[in-house]
Amino acid sequence: MARDWSSATGHEIHDALHHGTATASDITQSFLRRIEAVDGKVRAYVDIWKDHALKQAENVDSRLKRGQTIGPLAGVPFAIKDVLCTKHGHTTCCSRILKGYRSPFDATVIERLEQAGVVFLGKVNMDEFAMGSSTENSSVQVTRNPWDLKCVPGGSSGGSAAAVVADECVASLGSDTGGSIRQPAALCGCVGMKPTYGRVSRYGLVAFASSLDQIGPFTKDVEDLALVMNVISGRDERDSTSADIPVPNYSQALRDDISDITVGLPKEYYTDALNPEMRQKIESAVKILEARGAKVIEVSLPHTEYAIAVYYIICTAEASANLARFDGVRYGYRAPKVADVQEMYAKTKTDGYGREVQRRILLGTYVLSSGYYDAYYLKAQKVRALIRKDFEEAFQKCNVIATPTSPTPAFEIGAKTADPLEMYLSDIYTISVNLAGIPGLSVPCGLTQSGLPSGLQLLGKPFDEATLMRVAYAYEKNRGFDIGKPPLT
C-alpha cells in the first residue's frame, strides 16, 4: 500500500514532488481514499471530482517527467466552497434554486490556482448562499465538526474548514462576508484568512453581500496560507473593486521575528460574553507573542456593539438585490406548472430558497423599502464609517489586533437554529472586520477541555496581510503545542 499523504501540508507535498519521492497521482489517490474513508462521517463534500482531479495530477506528473519545474502549489489537492464558479461540475451555493447549475466560466481564483497546477478534488458544503454560521443552512447536508461529530463546523464555509481538518484536502477556498472563513477555521482548528477587501478578485464568487464578500484560503499552517495567498492575490480587471496594489511575496514575509510588532487588545472584545475558557486561551496566546518580543497594549474599538446591527442591515440589503436574479428564467430551478411570470417568480423563489435565505431577503427588502431606507440602510452606512474609523485610530497605535475568533467553541447541531438573532450574535468578533474591509486571520490556539478547537484572530491594516501572516507564523512556531488530529477513525 502506498504511503498516505493526506495529513501532509502543501509545502511538504511540494518537497516530495520536487525530490521525486512521490507523484502527484499517488498523492491525489491518497486524498481520494481518505475522502472515501471519512467523508461519510464529516460530510464535507457535495461533489467529488475524482476523474478531473486525477487528470490534473497526471498533468503535473508529466511536467515533472519532462523535467519541467513546477510551482509550489502544483499537485497540491484543494477543495472549493460551492459558492465559487467552476466550469467543471456544478456550482450550486448548496441551494435548491441552483441545483444542477453549470457555470460557463471559472472564477478568477480558480483560474489562478489551476495555472499554478493545483489539483481540485471537488466542491464542499456551505450554508445556502453563504448565509449562516453553522453550515446547517445547506440544502444538501449538514457538515460535522471533525473533532466532535455532534457539533457544527461553523459556517458558512463549514465544508471548507472540515475538509482541511479531516485531511480530506490540503487546503481549501472559502468566502468570508462576516466571518465565514475565520469562524469555521477556529471551530474546526485550522488556519483561515479573510484578505483585505479588494485584495482577491471576487469575479466568480456568487455574491452574497458585495461590499463585504472576500475569498480566502483554509490551510493546515501559515506557511501554506502564504503560498495560496501568493497565487490568488492581486488586481483582476474583471473586478472593479479589486485593488491595483502590489502583492508582496508572502512566503518571504514569514519570519520568526516580531520584536517590532505592537499587538492591540480591544477592550470591548474582552467582555462577559466571552466564554472564560476561550478568554484564557487567547490570553496565553498573547503571552507567547509577548515572549517573542511583541509589545502588547490595550486599544479601543468603541463602536463594536453596533457592528452586528450594521452588518445585518447592509448584508441583507445587498443580498436582497444579489439574489433577485434567481428567478427561473435563464438558469436554475423553475417551479413547474405556472400560469404566468408572476407565479413563476413566486413559486420558484419560495420553493427554491431555504428559510434563512428567505428571512434575509425579506429583511434586506424591508430596510431598503420606501420610508425605511434612511432609518436603516443609510444609518447603517454612517455607523459603518464610524466602525472603520475605530480601526484606523486603533492602528495608529498598533500593527495588529488580537481577539478571539468566536466567543464560544463549536456548538451542537440544532442548538441555535430556533433563534436567528442568537445565531447572528455569535458573529460578534468577526463582523466588524468585514465592515472595515481589513484583513483578518484565525490560527488555532489550543483545544478546550471538551476537546474542541479555539482560534486566535489577528487583524491587520488594509493590505498588510504580510504582517498578519508573520505574527501568526511566529505564534504557530512558538505556541509549544500541536492540536493534533481529530479522532476520526
Binding site: 473593486t241 433577485a324 438558469y331 413559486k347 425579506l362 424591508y366 423599502s369 454612517k382 464609517a385
Partner: protein, 98 residues
Amino acid sequence: MTKITKADVEYVAALAQLSLDEVTKERLVGELSDILSYMDKLNELDTRDIEPMMHVLPMTNVYRDDVVGPSLDRETALMNAPKTDGEYFLVPRILDIE
C-alpha cells in the same frame, strides 16, 4: 415589541416575489420584529455629521476600454435555461405590459 405587522411582511414579500403561507407570515412577524428592534440600537448614535460609507476602499474611476470581446455561443448561453426553443429563453405569459 412588535416592530412590523403582517401587512408589512406581505408588502416586502410581494416586492421580493415570495409567496408566504399564513404560518410563515406569523413566524416572520416575530422574527423580523426581534431583529429590527435589535437594530434600533443604532439610534443611540448621533450620525448627523457622518458621511455614509458606500465603499470601503477609496477607489474611483475604474474603467475598461470600449473594445468588443468574445461572447458566449448561443448553445452555452442557453445551456442552463429551464425552457428554451434553441433561440430564446422561454417564459410563461407576462401579465403586465411594460
